[in-house]
């Protein structure tokens, strides 16, 4: 490729900083072509991903897909609202044209004969897949350090974690390598990375988005959702991927409203007026970094100033959430990951010995430490004599947490929490302390256990380290639209108060190839 001229360079940097909604408008008016937009993002990936390592695979067919959209648009075809916008895809989602590894060596080079439903819907909507993003192996982790392909770095500080498991998708969006990304959230894997990277992430109501083609971690907790820089962008992507899928038995048949419309309504209206916002009395202040708590309180104050009412609610069983989660997740995961046995697909490390030996050796070599730890833990939780005390009890805690939510939502419209206890910690800081790592998900886990939707939007920077902080809102099941309205309303106020998006405050990445 020839060296870009100064004006072209400026155009590229303009394109990549556009929100998906703004980019879509320029694509629709043909001010920018999809090929230009896609090329701009591919250039950005080439320039910065050596430092960020958000991508495991860049789509060689991206420009062809973009050209196809441009051709169809030129032919007058009625394309959807986001046609031609580039999209990054978490590697947990299977794709026919790119490898899908779920961050694991055991699936290196795996090519799926089918697309995940969300990927198929994204393609049908004209979104242009840019590539597959890095993640903790099989989505087990909160830092993306457990990827078999090396960690992703936080664009705000390359020595820090981008969150996890979907650190790749969040970092890609935060580093302007993609305007939109898909993530998956089992215990916070969309919302916690959003929190530490200054981006927006939504975990939809369980069943709101198809799990078909999402490599399962914990089937009863997993949800696919959008990772973006604005609430409206998340709504646009959610509108594309959401809705009933007969291939997923747990998929809801509800007729969903437009989440993009909900976001637009929130941004312009006065939805905060009279809104009852619950804050959880039992959430311990200890364990929360001062800057996180400070940013959270400041955001609440902004809402209060707009007429929101802050109501203290009780959720006495949330403190059992992490424990229940670390029983249910490993139990389901130990079963879901049994299919990686060197017979039908994936790694086989040796060709001699009995099939039992080959399987056991392959699984030992192919899985990383965290995955093995959780498989062994889950095997234990389900094994004879322990089931009732562990897995069975954890499922009861789910019931109790659902009751806490039911009682809370009888009194408030949304619940607000900090999205995670700390800002981005340093790479390697917690890697040897699994228990500390697990506690990172304390505020995000209850939503997965109860199936309710949650959103994390940037609330500001922590005073002590200048790193991004997110605020999480939770709504009753099926009330995802409420999160878009409330999230977009607060986002508009905060962006105004900052004089621009929070990501404008992020350091410029050294643009090297």
């Amino acid at each position: 490729m020839t060296e870009p001229t100064g004006t072209e360079r400026k155009a590229v940097s303009d394109i990549i900083r556009l929100s998906a909604a703004d980019l879509a408008a320029k694509l629709a008016s043909r001010e920018i072509s999809s090929v230009e937009a896609t090329q701009a993002h591919l250039d950005r990936i080439a320039a910065v991903d050596g430092d960020v390592h958000a991508f495991l695979h860049v789509n060689a067919g991206a420009l062809d897909a973009a050209a196809d959209i441009d051709r169809r648009r030129a032919a007058g075809e009625d394309l959807g609202p986001v046609a031609g916008v580039p999209l990054a895809i978490k590697d947990v989602l299977v794709t026919t044209d790119m490898p899908s590894t779920s961050g694991s060596k055991i699936l290196e080079g795996y090519l799926s004969p089918f697309d995940a439903t969300v990927v198929a819907r994204a393609r049908a909507a004209g979104l242009v897949p840019l590539g597959k993003t890095n993640m903790d192996e099989f989505a087990m982790g909160s830092s993306t350090e457990h990827s078999a392909y090396g960690p992703t770095h936080n664009p705000w500080d390359l020595d820090r974690i981008p969150g996890g498991s979907g650190g790749g998708s969040a970092a890609a969006v935060a580093a302007f390598e993609a305007p939109l990304a898909l993530g998956s959230d089992t215990g916070g894997s969309i919302r916690q990375p959003a929190h530490v990277t200054g981006t927006v992430g939504i975990k939809p109501t369980y069943g709101g988005v198809s799990r078909y083609g999402a490599i399962a971690l914990a089937s009863s907790l997993d949800q696919v959702g959008p990772v973006t820089r604005t609430v409206l962008d998340a709504g646009l992507l959610h509108d594309v991927i959401g809705g009933h899928d007969p291939r997923d038995s747990t998929s809801l048949t509800d007729a969903w409203p437009s989440f993009a419309d909900a976001a637009r309504e929130g941004a312009r209206g006065d939805v905060l007026k009279g809104l009852k916002v619950g804050v959880i009395a039992e959430l311990p202040d200890s364990g929360f970094q001062a800057g996180v708590s400070g940013s959270f309180r400041a955001a609440l104050a902004v809402m209060e100033a707009q007429g929101a009412e802050i109501v203290e609610i009780s959720a006495p069983h949330f403190e059992y959430g992490v424990a229940a989660y670390y029983l249910i997740l490993p139990a389901e995961a130990s079963s879901n990951l049994a299919k990686f046995d060197s017979v039908r697909f994936g790694l086989r490390t040796q060709a001699v010995g009995t099939v039992e030996d080959v399987m056991a050796a392959t699984r030992d070599a192919g899985f990383g430490d965290e995955v093995k730890r959780r498989i062994i833990l889950g095997t234990y939780a389900l094994s004879a004599g322990y089931y009732d005390a562990y897995y069975g009890s954890a499922q009861k805690v789910r019931t109790l947490i659902q009751r806490d939510f039911d009682e809370a939502f009888a009194r408030v419209d949304v619940i607000a929490t900090p999205s995670a206890p700390t800002t981005a910690f340093r790479l390697g800081e917690k890697i040897d302390d699994p228990l500390q790592m697990y506690l990172n998900d304390v505020t995000t886990i209850p939503a997965n256990l109860a199936g309710v939707p949650g959103i994390s939007i940037p609330s500001g920077l922590a005073a002590e380290d200048g790193l991004p902080v997110g605020i999480q809102f939770l709504a009753p099941a099926r009330e995802d639209a409420r999160l878009y309205r409330v999230g977009a309303a607060l986002e508009a106020l905060l962006v105004d108060s900052w004089g621009g998006p929070l990501l404008d405050k992020a350091p410029t990445l050294g643009e090297k190839a």
Partner: protein, 99 residues
Amino acid sequence: MSEITPDLVRHLGVLARIQLSDDEVQRLTGQLDAIVDNIAKVSQVATPDVIATSHPIPLQNVCRADVVGETLTQAQALQNAPDAADGRFRVTAILGEEQ
């Protein structure tokens, strides 16, 4: 304290078909012990009157009609196979028996 012992971890490794080295067994024993001590508290509130929730959003009778749909070709089925012969997946000798 929980009852995690190296022998138990080794046995779990057999059930989970992971060939754990002695080092791994030692390390996992300590880590699991700490984790289990922490998560065992679920039984404190899981009283008999509480019913278990296995699906966060209750649904029932989700079925499909008995109508033939798309299938994979043999080439697609085998495309990721570590080893195959005669249109089938090939594995080394099997020690255990059918269940």
